[in-house]
């Protein structure tokens, strides 16, 4: 069942002189089992949108259907905890949420809250930490003592350990070095490919979006301007101009290759794949 936003609006500081409509009549269906990117300028409502997905914010108007839950404006909600277990939200600069004495305990904190028994929570925590490449000798170290990149990965492990069906990431790579960023993206792509998790990524990084995301939503001033296949969006020069977006370098490179007589398939979106395809043609 897809995630359905139905005529959803969200107003900050309702009834105050400076009320602000952050989301305006959003109608959107996000398919399950794929990677969807949400892009848009700062202040376009991206974070507000994703905070609805696990009911941190409730719609001011309209409704949101997600998994078996239905969030309707102005209705008391009772099932927040199971919803939050099923929809994991990784915040921007998530490293600031760590607080337990040890890394392992911190990662097990979520699963314990969601009612997993201690033993299983610790097992899940250890597995999640392995997935994010935190070596076992760090398990008993304080999460406040490790590097920024490691902290980010521990925080992400804290969400993965809860075993959510949908994982939402708000700018997961902001402030990380390129290698750290790639590690994290690869991790989420593999969660999607292997475990069929639905992934929703809020990002400013168009290259990453082009490389990995199946569909893209463009938000601007609280409204949806585009929703469709990522490849179609980035192939459409006029749309890019309209949304004030730069063409990803990889697209420019691809187009140059095609212009110069190389045959490039539609699936080749990353540098690695392009390299592989043209390597064969150069040898000939």
């Amino acid at each position: 069942m897809p995630i359905r936003f139905k005529a959803l609006s969200y107003i900050y500081n309702k009834d105050m002189p400076y009320a602000h409509k952050a989301l305006d009549d959003i109608n959107l269906e996000i398919r399950e089992g794929i990677v969807t990117a949400i892009i848009g300028e700062t202040g376009s409502g991206k974070s507000t949108l994703v905070e609805h997905l696990n009911a941190l914010l409730l719609p001011s108007e309209g409704s949101l259907e997600i998994l078996d839950y239905n969030l309707i404006a102005n209705q008391k909600q009772k099932f927040l905890k199971p919803l939050r277990k099923d929809v994991g939200l990784v915040f921007q600069f998530s490293e600031y949420q760590l607080f337990e004495e040890t890394i392992l305990k911190d990662v097990a904190f979520g699963p314990l809250n969601f009612g997993f028994p201690l033993e299983e929570a610790l097992k899940r925590a250890a597995e999640a930490l392995k997935m994010v490449d935190i070596p076992e000798e760090l398990f008993s170290v304080s999460p406040l003592e490790i590097s920024g990149g490691q902290k980010r990965r521990v925080a992400i492990a804290g969400i993965i350990a809860c075993d959510p069906k949908i994982i939402v990431l708000d700018e997961p790579t902001a402030g990380l070095d390129p290698r750290g960023a790639k590690q994290i993206i690869d991790l989420f792509i593999s969660l999607n490919r292997k475990l069929k998790k639905t992934i929703i990524i809020v990002s400013h990084d168009n290259e990453m979006v082009y490389n990995y995301c199946d569909e893209t939503v463009v938000l601007s001033k609280g409204k949806i301007r585009y929703h469709g296949p990522t490849l179609e969006l980035f192939a459409d020069q006029e749309k890019l101009k309209e949304f004030n977006m730069l063409e990803p370098q990889i697209v420019t490179f691809r187009n140059l290759l095609i212009e110069n007589g190389f045959k490039v398939s539609n699936e080749a979106r990353t540098l690695d794949m392009l390299a592989k395809e043209i390597a064969g043609q150069i040898r000939k």
Binding site: L56, K85, G88, L89, F109, I159
Partner: protein, 266 residues
């Protein structure tokens, strides 16, 4: 957190917002003095009318003022009950059982409550229309004479303005960390005591670590820009009294004068 109205700044542009913060502070003191000096309902009425005009000029709805009364309601009811039962002057109005309730009890209490409401409204108007940083500049200016007895007005003002500057930041951080922990299944509203303690801990520890980090960064940034406590400094924004500010203070002073006069005349 967002329901707190008392002391909240409303960032819009209006006549009241543009007044000089020093003038507004002086005006606030004069008006509150006027509210406390008088014993006349007519003066209250006059002040209420002035307040209504100021609210219109400030583009702040009456709703916000009413909301600012909310925290005081319990205290007012308490005051009303105690006063009604203890003041025993004037005519007997009616009896509760065999207990007489006097005229003065009701009217004096209503008067005190109106006095409080006016005071809260005036203060809310000041904080709603004055940027906290401007407010500290104003306070620093008013405290200036204390420098004669070597009171470090500038440092105190700097500390206060840094503290004020960081309140919204810290509130933002708090909401962010709360959201992050809610996403990990923490329930801040319900649950047993032990769960509540764990919930609070999951908020306090990261909040402290963020606050310290910010403090270090700020200290470094201030040093990097050559901040020396106690050194003579100039300001980018120079406060200037304009004609309207003098008019504003004049009206407030006139109100106080009339209020004092009302004690002798009425």
């Amino acid at each position: 957190m967002n329901n707190l109205v008392f002391g909240k700044y409303i960032p819009i542009d209006s006549f009241m917002h543009r007044l000089d913060p020093r003038g507004k502070l002086i005006g606030l003191f004069l008006m509150i003095a006027a509210v406390f000096v008088t014993r006349s309902w007519w003066v209250f009425l006059g002040i209420a009318v002035l307040l209504a005009i100021a609210l219109l000029l400030a583009k702040i709805g009456i709703k916000m003022i009413v909301q600012s009364f909310k925290p005081m309601i319990v205290m007012m009811i308490f005051l009303f009950v105690i006063n009604s039962l203890t003041i025993r002057t004037g005519e007997v109005l009616f009896n509760i059982g065999t207990y007489p309730i006097y005229e003065d009890a009701i009217f004096n209490t209503l008067f005190v409550i109106c006095r409080l409401l006016l005071m809260i409204s005036i203060t809310t108007l000041l904080t709603a229309t004055t940027n906290p940083l401007d407010l500290t500049l104003g306070i620093e200016w008013i405290l200036k004479p204390l420098e004669l007895i070597r009171f470090p007005t500038h440092e105190v003002a700097m500390m206060v303005s840094i503290a004020l500057r960081f309140i919204p930041t810290i509130i933002e951080e708090t909401i962010r960390i709360m959201n992050a922990q809610k996403s990990r299944g923490v329930d801040f509203e319900n649950g047993r005591i032990s769960e509540k303690i764990a919930a609070i801990l999951s908020l306090i520890v990261p909040l402290f670590s963020v606050a310290f980090e910010r403090a270090y960064e700020l200290a470094d940034a201030m040093e990097a820009r050559g901040y020396v406590p106690g050194a003579k400094r100039t300001r980018y924004r120079v406060l200037k009294f304009r004609f309207t500010d003098f008019m504003f203070i004049f009206i407030c002073a006139l109100t106080l004068a009339l209020s004092i006069a009302s004690r002798f005349v009425l």
